[in-house]
């Protein structure tokens, strides 16, 4: 099977679905780029992260739509086009830009189906690049998926690798609800085996990345690899873990987590977001309610601190939860239940 980066895997999915379904359109800033430029090159960009490369030449400017810097209008236009029968993919570029476009996401597309009594759906995929680690500063580094997972009516996808990203994107493109598709910037170049063809991954099905006996580790997006490192480091001491990657946080496959906790009795959650009202706290709360009897030790959450993302390398490194911190948390739950 070919090795592909997450960047190419998502691009693959867009190519496949745009070829299959003429209702799919893509819109956003510089999704092709070059409009109004002096070189005449019409695909001068293909998306600031290169995810929409090759779409304009193949599908034309009616379906691959460069927009002004107007995120509310982009999100709103996606919502309106969906009501009128299209299936838009709207690129928000940095997830942080939800600030200038939240209304169309959380008051409009999220609520249409319910508010209008089920008489319409709103099949929009919003693509959001997220995450710290590249020293992009406080306004370009956030992982705001908890904010959107809190919103009824939205589905929220947080892939951790190229294979999942492609399958989840194809599912997103065929889903009738608005889907927030979070792409961690640090994962774009990471490669794994990804089939060329069409395949889907169901929302709400976690992936069991590692199997073990002692601790259940739940990790999201970039934290999955970090958790793997932590788990590898523990093997020498005979500590083995289930590593669960929920892949989608709304819906959330809480059953897989609960089953694992039933076996291990111990839970560590690793999440790049700040701690308050986070996915880490969300999962911890569900387990404290529904899996309480299985727990042998306090739940440990490994998160970013309750601070904005700092710029300097040294500070940002300290901000992002590290494999070491995950490892320590695992050791701690082992100790506390010894």
């Amino acid at each position: 099977m070919p090795q592909k980066s997450m960047r190419d895997a998502i691009n693959d999915a867009l190519h496949i679905e745009m070829a299959r379904d003429p209702r799919v359109i893509v819109l956003g800033e510089d999704v092709s780029g070059g409009a109004g430029g002096t070189s005449g090159e019409r695909e001068a960009s293909g998306g600031i992260f290169g995810i929409t490369k090759g779409l304009l030449p193949k599908f034309g400017a009616e379906r691959v739509i460069d927009t002004p810097i107007s995120e509310s209008a982009i999100m709103g236009a996606a919502a309106g086009a969906a009501l009128a029968g299209l299936r838009p993919v709207a690129e928000l570029m940095f997830a942080d830009f939800v600030g200038v476009s939240l209304d169309q996401i959380f008051n409009q597309m999220a609520k249409f189906r319910y508010m209008f009594g089920g008489k319409t759906t709103c099949p929009v995929v919003v693509r959001l690049a997220m995450g710290a680690g590249m020293n992009m500063g406080a306004q370009h580094s956030q992982t705001i998926y908890p904010m959107l997972a809190a919103v009824p009516g939205l589905k929220v996808v947080v892939p951790s690798n190229a294979y999942d990203a492609k399958g989840l994107m194809l599912t997103a493109l065929r889903d009738d609800d608005p889907v927030m598709f979070f792409e961690h910037k640090a994962l774009y170049p990471r490669k794994c085996e990804v089939p060329d063809g069409d395949y889907t991954i169901r929302f709400g099905e976690a992936s069991l990345v590692r199997e073990g006996e002692h601790v259940t580790v739940v990790a999201l997006a970039r934290m999955v690899t970090f958790a793997e490192k932590a788990i590898d480091a523990l093997a020498a001491d005979g500590i083995t873990c289930d590593l669960i990657d929920p892949r989608t946080v709304s819906p959330l496959d809480i059953d897989t987590i609960l089953e694992s906790v039933e076996n291990t009795g111990r839970l560590v959650i690793a999440d790049e977001s700040p701690p308050r009202c986070s996915i880490a706290s969300d999962i911890a709360a569900m387990v404290a309610q529904r899996g309480f009897r299985s727990l042998k030790a306090p739940i440990q959450m490994v998160t970013a601190p309750h601070t904005p993302v700092p710029f300097a390398r040294e500070l940002e490194r300290a901000y992002v939860p590290s494999p070491q911190r995950i490892e320590q948390a695992i050791r701690l739950v082992m100790k506390e239940s010894a």
Binding site: S70, A73, G80, A84, Q104
Partner: protein
């Protein structure tokens, strides 16, 4: 009232005019009746009445087809009726009944009817225009000459999302028509204060689209302006703006003491800016007699009566409906 499978063009025939009058009168009576019913406490939530602005909704929607879209506002009843929504289903929605147009989940500020090209009212000021531009992208891509209309008030013309929508429509050259109903107020603040330029038309023009002001109390003026807008948009020349000068006969929402308004303002406007009176005055020229209008009037009143009594009697949603029409499990 029905919607038309294809747009009408050509002269305003007697039949079309009678239909337009019926729609305007239906809106008026719908709202006047709501004004009364709301006092009884039987209608949940808060409601914004459209009385006084009927000629705008009907002048804009008169010739539209089902596949032309409209996106509406918090003050949306008139737009719905003008676009052909069933008044029974609307009334039930406003009462919060199970077979309201949105199953009682939306309410007065969230009526939609996709089968009529009515893409939804919106309780967020400025929420609609970006959505209308999205629908206009769909119209453009279909290439069938259909258009998408964003209704908004003078107050909405200060919301950033609205400016973005206008610029995007110009850039993408999509068939979107921005209809600003300038009724002089946004809640308790005058347009002459809040619209810094005191002119919405010139703003739209500066975004790069044709823009016209018209008398919103005059059905014929609104209609003629809309014909120009439609010709422009259906020919693929991009968006258009209409600013209709109008007034509302009631407060911002029901219960507003209207301290911001001069004592006699509404009374005077009910004389000088009543689109129904104006229409009746002009109707003779089009071969329409007072008796024609009176017979419509009585039909309309009966229809509204029926809508209200049916809505009163209708069943509320079942508690189980709370969890339908949305993804809930987790």
């Amino acid at each position: 009232m029905t919607t038309r499978p294809t747009p009408i063009t050509g002269p305003l025939t007697r039949e079309r005019l009678l239909d337009a009058y019926r729609r305007m009168k239906t809106i008026r009576e719908f709202e006047e009746r709501l004004h009364v019913e709301i006092q009884t406490g039987s209608i949940p939530g808060f409601t914004h009445l459209y009385s006084g602005q009927e000629a705008v909704a009907v002048g804009v929607c008169e010739s539209l087809a089902t596949n032309d879209y409209i996106v509406s506002t918090h003050r949306g009843h008139g737009h719905c009726i003008a676009k052909g929504c069933d008044i029974g289903g609307m009334m039930k929605e406003i009462y919060g009944r199970a077979d309201g147009l949105c199953k009682g989940k939306g309410g007065s500020m969230h009526i939609a009817d996709f089968s009529k090209g009515m893409l939804g009212a919106n309780a967020i000021v400025g929420g609609g225009p970006p959505i209308a531009v999205g629908a206009a992208i769909a119209c453009r891509n279909r290439g069938d000459g259909s258009v998408s209309i964003a209704f908004g008030g003078d107050g909405s013309a200060n919301q950033g999302t609205v400016f973005e929508a206008m610029n995007l429509a110009v850039v993408l050259k999509v068939p979107a028509i921005f209809v600003y109903e300038n009724n002089g107020y946004a809640e308790h603040t005058g347009a002459s204060y809040a619209v810094g330029s005191n002119n919405i038309t010139t703003r739209s023009a500066a975004f790069g689209m044709p823009a016209e002001r018209c008398d919103g109390a005059d059905f014929f003026a609104v209609h003629a302006t809309m014909e120009r807008a439609l010709a422009h948009c259906r020919a693929g020349h991009g968006p258009y703006t209409i600013e209709a000068m109008t007034t509302r006969f009631y407060g911002h929402f029901e219960g507003d003491p209207q301290l911001y308004r001069a004592k006699d303002e509404v009374r005077a406007q009910r004389e000088s800016m009543d689109c129904l009176k104006r229409f009746a005055a002009d109707a003779g020229q089009h071969g329409i007699s007072p008796a024609d209008l009176e017979s419509i009037d009585s039909e309309v009143l009966l229809a509204i009566d029926a809508a209200v009594s049916e809505a009163r009697e209708a069943a509320p949603p079942a508690e189980a409906d709370l969890l339908t029409d949305v993804y809930v499990s987790y």
